[in-house]
């Protein structure tokens, strides 16, 4: 099983996680810029954070043969803090970088006017830099947040096929399915989405434009739940090819739209180079 985790906050994870992820078949990750638990108070903190996402973190991942890319943005929560707003002016130089494959996470937290403004401005940046966009959906008032996000996306003029709405569930999946946007699901130990529920969604809605991620961060989360979802799919009768589509080819297709995805050396088929042995040996 080859796995591309399209949304994981490795900054908050240990090097042991990389080791376990690599052993489980994770060969590529995308790390979206987000908040860190502790609110930041100046743009300089963001600079160091963004630099880490295009410097140290890819190096750390590379030691375990995991390819690391990033998405860069001012997240919705901190967009509300006037001290952090100048981060918007820093973004263009990061959006030129090789390892940056989308603008994100953008979207809503509390649906304030400040969030509206930052969301629209950053969708415009995605268009200007010819990059896809990763849209976080709010945890509170989610359904209305998703509807409002879709309206902002439509208004921005970005092509829907270059946008993913993330952290969806049984309720919100219906709102996004027919918009042409991609659908992201964050598999969590207890909250957002679980492997069995994900399998049910895949049975109902198919595998097209579906992205499964662990969204692992500093909270109660697990970077191996992508793999657990793949295994649950197989148990439910999905084929190896279905699993490969959801866990590898879909994220490659979505982020590949940036023209910057570099998977040289890690994109060989899952049956090659001992990967099946690895799976059997676990």
């Amino acid at each position: 099983m080859r796995i591309f985790d399209p949304h994981i906050h490795m900054t908050s994870r240990t090097t042991d996680d990389y080791q376990r992820m690599a052993a489980a078949g994770v060969r590529a990750v995308v790390e979206p810029a987000f908040w860190l638990g502790q609110p930041r108070t100046s743009p300089a903190s963001f600079t160091d954070y963004f630099d880490s996402l295009i410097g140290w973190e890819p190096f750390r991942a590379g030691q375990f043969d995991v390819r690391h890319h990033a998405t860069i943005a001012l997240n919705p929560k901190e967009a509300n803090d006037p001290r952090c707003r100048p981060v918007l002016d820093l973004l263009p130089r990061y959006l030129d970088k090789d390892g940056v494959v989308a603008v994100g996470e953008i979207g809503y937290d509390s649906m304030t006017p400040e969030e509206d403004e930052a969301f629209a401005a950053q969708l415009a940046l995605a268009v200007a830099h010819d990059l896809p966009a990763l849209v976080h959906s709010p945890h509170r008032d989610k359904a209305r947040g998703v509807e409002r996000s879709l309206a902002v996306v439509a208004e921005s003029g970005i092509e829907p096929g270059r946008v993913v709405l993330d952290h969806l569930n049984e309720v919100t999946v219906k709102l996004v399915r027919d918009t042409g946007c991609w659908l992201g699901f964050s598999i969590y130990p207890e909250t957002k989405m679980s492997p069995p529920r994900m399998v049910e969604l895949l049975k109902t809605y198919g595998t097209e434009r579906m992205l499964v991620n662990s969204a692992a961060d500093w909270g109660h989360s697990d970077p191996l739940l992508t793999r657990a979802t793949g295994e649950a799919m197989l148990l439910a009768g999905f084929t190896d090819d279905d699993v490969d589509r959801v866990l590898w080819r879909n994220p490659v297709e979505f982020y590949g739209q940036s023209g910057r995805l570099d998977l040289t050396g890690v994109d060989h088929p899952a049956t090659f180079a001992g990967n099946s042995i690895l799976r059997g040996g676990e």
């Binding site: 630099d51 295009i54 410097g55 140290w56 890819p58 190096f59 130089r93 030129d96 970088k97 090789d98 390892g99 023209g259 910057r260 570099d262 040289t264």
Partner: protein, 215 residues
């Protein structure tokens, strides 16, 4: 290394026209370099060049862009390094010996030597490291050994290695021996060439005096 050799090495890059345009525009306006510098990997490729050995296409292209500058070299390399991703930083470090910057790039080397990125540490110890003082240079060499960076990355190694470096290497060798861990072969060979220091002070404590944690 010369710009001409790098230019010749890049004759086969996928987007020749992009490179020519970039070089022309950077020569005309140094303010244009950041975007070209950032995009060099996806335009020119990132694979190793057959010649010169040890160079990748993106690195050669970025170094060429810097050599195309007509002025403001020191300010530009400092800005590009500080705003760069790891590959851009490394390219700046490798360009330094080809640019008229005098010792102005030393703070960049010191920054690179503070990182834990082996690619940056290695690039900081190229020919431009002649501007590093001896203490910083020795620490850099020792860090290479510690991190497993091949000492082939270090320019002028034999000319510059001194008795103090031998003491430091012998200390590391003693710690590794106490822990049952091997020294890299190139470090052992260097130590042999330098001659094992007779009475290392402090550092090279006998194995039975090291606490397990230090070992």
């Amino acid at each position: 290394m010369t710009p001409d050799r790098l230019r010749a090495a890049l004759d086969g890059v996928p987007d020749q026209e992009w490179l020519d345009t970039a070089l022309r525009r950077v020569a005309a306006d140094p303010g244009e370099i950041p975007r070209f510098f950032a995009a060099a990997g996806r335009r020119c490729g990132r694979g190793p060049l057959p010649d010169p050995p040890g160079w990748t296409a993106d690195e050669a292209a970025r170094v060429l862009l810097l050599t195309a500058l007509r002025a403001e070299h020191a300010a530009t390399v400092t800005a590009l390094y500080s705003a760069g991703d790891a590959a851009e930083k490394r390219a700046v470090l490798r360009a330094l010996p080809l640019l008229p910057v005098g010792p102005a790039g030393v703070p960049l080397l010191l920054d690179a030597l503070r990182t834990n990125d082996t690619r940056l540490v290695a690039a900081a110890l190229g020919p431009y490291a002649q501007h590093l003082d001896q203490a910083a240079w020795r620490q850099g060499v020792l860090k290479c050994v510690f991190m497993g960076v091949p000492l082939a990355a270090v320019a002028d190694l034999d000319e510059r290695a001194d008795g103090e470096l031998a003491v430091m290497l012998a200390g590391l060798a003693a710690e590794r021996a106490a822990a049952g861990r091997a020294m890299p072969a190139d470090a052992t060979a260097l130590l042999d060439r330098l001659g094992v220091p007779a009475a290392p002070t402090g550092r090279a404590t006998a194995p039975d005096q090291l606490s397990p944690r230090e070992a």
